[in-house]
């Protein structure tokens, strides 16, 4: 700990103690989260072992539980959200940081952030009652146009599907990626952009050739943070995804994610059921932590990179 010097007054010691205690509480809470989730899942861990992760049976009446279907659903819906949200979010970041006049930026920027402030339960409500009926109408069209790709199978639902879940997640993570990448683009030194423009490059060439490469690791970190949010979102997804049990490739069928399944069934009806739900939480926690650490590592890399440029 830095700043230690002789002659600290009692007030200094008390304040330092309080602050250090707060830090300790935070770190301990984090450890306690991991401990609770692991200890809660111990029954299921010993009964199902690691096979829990790749099997796909979910049959509470027979005390058979596994995570495979939900892991698939989580990854598919989040991947879809990321694929849609990353280009849209980065494009919004570009618009706000590099194109929009200051006055437009001051209005649009906060509005985009406001989209992130809409609670998931409201996005879910809207997704179920407004978006899903709309999706139900466009799914057959997408199926007949793109049906040769297994992802766009024949629609079987009322609009509640993995596809709708992915759209809802997209809406939730676009503002995250947009505001983070806007902040990144604002850090690109203007003289670097001038240098590129002075070589007879168009605005887009400057962005693609200079702005994006200089911020690449930061943009990816922002996207991974958005992905982390999508992976862990429970409520909005559970409202629109249809809570199906099977593993399949089509986006237009119902599915379920880890977070959504936990939210939907917690705390279960018997101890093993509860433990299986804790195990789902453990899987989600591991995926979430890995995602987050990757994002942290990437943004630290970006910070080191940006320091060189300045």
């Amino acid at each position: 700990m830095g700043g230690r010097r002789s002659g600290r007054s009692r007030g200094d010691v008390i304040l330092l103690g309080l602050c250090a205690a707060a830090a300790l509480v935070a770190v301990l809470t984090l450890c306690e989260v991991a401990y609770q989730v692991i200890s809660g899942s111990s029954d299921a861990l010993s009964k199902f072992g690691l096979g829990f992760i790749w099997h796909a049976t979910w049959a509470p009446p027979f005390s058979q539980y596994s995570a495979g279907g939900f892991i698939t659903g989580t990854l598919v819906s989040s991947a879809m959200a990321l694929l849609l949200a990353m280009p849209i979010g980065v494009a919004i970041g570009i618009f706000l940081a590099l194109q929009a006049p200051a006055r437009v930026r001051a209005v649009i920027g906060p509005l985009v952030e406001l989209l992130a402030a809409v609670p998931s339960v409201i996005i879910g409500l809207w997704g179920l009652l407004v978006l899903a009926p709309f999706v139900q109408r466009i799914e057959p069209g997408l199926n007949s146009a793109l049906g040769f790709i297994p992802l766009f199978g024949s629609p079987q639902t009322t609009g509640a599907s993995v596809f709708t879940g992915g759209l809802v997640l997209t809406i939730m993570i676009v503002p995250i990626i947009a505001s983070l990448s806007r902040d990144l683009f604002l850090t690109v030194p203007p003289d670097l952009q001038d240098g590129a423009a002075a070589l007879g490059a168009t605005r887009w060439e400057v962005i693609r050739g200079v702005v994006l490469p200089t911020t690449a690791s930061g943009v990816i970190a922002a996207s991974v943070l958005g992905l982390g949010r999508a992976l862990g979102e429970a409520i909005a997804v559970t409202q629109v995804i249809g809570n199906g049990n099977t593993i399949h490739t089509s986006l237009f069928e119902t599915g379920d994610t880890l977070a959504s399944r936990i939210a939907n069934l917690f705390p279960g009806t018997d101890p093993l059921f509860t433990s299986a739900l804790f195990y789902l939480a453990l899987v989600l926690l591991v995926i979430g932590l890995v995602t987050n650490l990757v994002a942290q590592w990437l943004s630290r890399r970006f910070a080191a990179h940006a320091a060189v440029l300045r």
């Binding site: 003289d191 240098g195 070589l199 007879g200």
Partner: protein, 301 residues
């Protein structure tokens, strides 16, 4: 702008005697042929930039007032003056780098080979492709040395003979021998002076007509500065050079023509303006305007 005007401006010789502008103090007899730099003056001078009564404003603030001067082909023209006198602002106008600054506006006539630079159908990207610029602080891209130079030619579709083009640009920028073994390593690993020469290589790789240099050596040590100055001597054989510098010795060493800008404090606002423009030798040995004399002899600024 008529065709006749263009012809006149292109064939105009250096004296430019018939223009009784407020800031032009050049006398009719000052044809530079008799002087030491007669090499260029023997041939008729081609005017690249013909600048008439150009004023630059940021919003309601006037930054540069009523500048009139001609910049000639394959010469190095220096712009000197105390800080804040609008040298850089003026330079950045020559390839429209100021356009994106809010409130920027320019009045007067800025002709480039007879075409109005700020005319209605002018493409800014095209302007900058012909008129390159090197900045005060070296600003290499976070790419390899090779890609720094190859980036702009690639944009232009000059993909044939790209390796040769990169090598030629690096050679012309006197950097080739230092980097030829590490073309794929990051440009950010070069020293400041090397980075600045890389920026020059980058600028000439697209074979522009004019290269604008904005205090290119101000962030460099004396040895790197000397290297840049040597380079400018070589470059002006093929390119028209305009260099802004706060270093008078540098202007004296590299420039054929020198423009002295200063702050006009007579009005309500302090505003930059051109005091005197002439052959470099004349500016430094026998300036007409007392303000120029004070500046070059170090009594002011």
């Amino acid at each position: 702008m008529t065709a006749a005007d263009i012809d006149i401006s292109r064939e105009e010789s250096g004296g430019d005697s018939g223009a009784p502008r407020r800031v032009r103090i050049q006398a009719p007899g000052s044809q530079p042929a008799a002087q030491g730099r007669g090499r260029q003056a023997a041939a008729p001078r081609h005017t690249v930039f013909e600048i008439r009564d150009v004023s630059i404003n940021y919003g309601a603030t006037r930054a540069v007032d009523q500048v009139t001067l001609n910049i000639y082909r394959h010469m190095a023209t220096a712009i000197i003056g105390p800080s804040g006198c609008g040298k850089t602002t003026f330079l950045r106008c020559l390839n429209r780098m100021n356009d994106s600054i809010p409130g920027f506006s320019v009045a007067g006539q800025l002709l480039y080979h007879g075409h109005d630079l700020y005319g209605p159908r002018v493409n800014r990207v095209e302007v900058r492709r012909r008129i390159g610029m090197v900045f005060q602080k070296p600003n290499p891209f976070a790419k390899s040395i090779y890609d720094n130079v190859a980036w702009a030619p690639r944009n232009l579709g000059l993909k044939k003979g790209l390796d040769e083009r990169v090598e030629r640009a690096l050679r012309d920028a006197a950097l080739w021998d230092e980097v030829k073994d590490r073309l794929k390593s990051s440009a950010l690993g070069l020293s400041g002076g090397q980075q600045q020469r890389l920026c020059i290589a980058r600028a000439i790789a697209v074979e522009p007509d004019v290269v604008l240099l904005d205090e290119p050596a101000s962030a460099l040590d004396p040895i790197a500065t000397a290297a840049i100055e040597d380079l400018i001597h070589d470059l002006k054989r093929r390119y028209t050079i305009v260099i802004v510098t706060h270093n008078m010795q540098q202007a004296a060493r590299v420039a054929d023509r020198t423009a002295f800008f200063s702050l006009d404090t007579s009005g309500p606002q302090r505003v930059g303006t051109l005091i005197e423009y002439d052959d470099t030798e004349r500016i430094f040995t026998n300036p007409r305007d007392p303000r120029t004399r004070d500046y070059v002899t170090g009594r002011f600024g």
